[in-house]
Symmetry: C2
């Protein structure tokens, strides 16, 4: 499917600096697709031949851990997906799955590679993004292993609020079982902590709808466990 990438309203900031020929190349060599919640966009174990640009919606990055699925993080559009798994290995080392309805562009690795080579700023931006992701990974991993459940749940709620939905009211796009895999705990503990926070007046839970009532407390819990 062809469309004009230069006019694409969803472009990443990094793409602002692309040259004309790169835009033409992109326009001619990408595939726009829609996925529904739950659909697999990138699948661990398959050959990785495409970089994915998430135009709209939310997705989870996850992989098979030694004992159960591990959700690394939830990302929102616009963002590139699968750079590490596409450039880092021939076979996908993680999966990406839609957690809302999404629109994505599939870009052939070689085309993406060309564009990287022909646009210094773009490739610098990508390098910076990769570096920032790695820093974030370090911190996230340290937090997850050191904090206990309440702290990690607080972190997850704050991340949804501040990084993804930009609002104190939002609908969690994951089941409690998935939340458990994100926060490294059990499904039951997620349920317990959520109702405890609700009981303590820190959040207001109505099914998957969450309102953060007392953000200060939540931040304290995030910091002090």
């Amino acid at each position: 499917m062809e469309s004009n990438c230069k006019e694409c309203p969803f472009n990443a900031k990094a793409a602002a600096t692309l040259c004309e020929t790169s835009f033409e190349q992109l326009s001619a060599n990408h595939l726009v697709l829609k996925f529904k919640r739950g659909d697999s966009i990138i699948k661990q174990g398959m050959y990785s031949t495409n970089v994915v640009f998430l135009r709209t919606g939310l997705a989870k990055i996850h992989l098979a851990g030694p004992y159960h699925e591990q959700i690394v993080r939830v990302v929102k559009a616009p963002t590139y997906l699968g750079l590490p798994t596409t450039f880092g290995d021939k076979i996908n080392q993680y999966s990406v799955t839609a957690v809302s309805d999404v629109e994505v562009c599939f870009i052939d690795v070689h085309v993406f590679q060309n564009i990287l080579n022909e646009n210094r700023e773009f490739s610098n931006d990508i390098i910076i993004e990769l570096c920032q992701n790695e820093l974030e990974s370090f911190h996230r991993c340290a937090n997850r292993t050191q904090k206990q459940i309440r702290g990690n749940m607080a972190d997850a709620l704050l991340e949804f609020s501040d990084k993804i939905f930009m609002s104190d009211t939002f609908t969690i796009p994951l089941s409690q079982a998935e939340l458990a895999n994100l926060v490294d705990t059990s499904r039951e503990s997620v349920s317990r902590v959520l109702s405890e926070f609700d009981k303590d007046g820190i959040i207001d839970v109505k099914g998957k709808q969450i309102e953060i009532v007392n953000k200060k407390s939540l931040k304290l819990i995030s910091q002090n466990g």
Copy 2:
């Protein structure tokens, strides 16, 4: 201190493709230094103005977690250090400390940036390395959070043996307290698991000297907890 980078016997594979002018730039703009075990090479919280190339020796990458120091991993020469923290943030988000005597080159970020811009292959190699590191981070984090102590200790021992020392006999360059921060457990548990492995004839412990006697068992423990 000036020296000829092109002739440097410690060059990373990525540097094999550098152009003449880049080598000259590197030669004129780097600083070779020696550090002793325990010396800080990159310090979390300081301004990050240099990329570090580890010529010889071993170093640990570590950061302040919410409750205690977290050792991310131990790396050996030759390798670049601090790319994520130098490109990803103005302030170092992690520390790097020598765990053996080491030799390093400090390279100004701007010089490194120039070299990246002027050498496609080099910048591709760096991108690939960053991607692979991120993949590794994902797996490492999933393992650490899901496995229990014996599995994680087995992983650490196997990594020292297979990735760092390339031998079944080696001297652990960390104290048990540091090992605990690497493996996400307590100092006491490290001690207990180590003597348990010794008692079971899986490893032979003489102070910090370790011999892996039964690698199959160790791999089984790594896989099955």
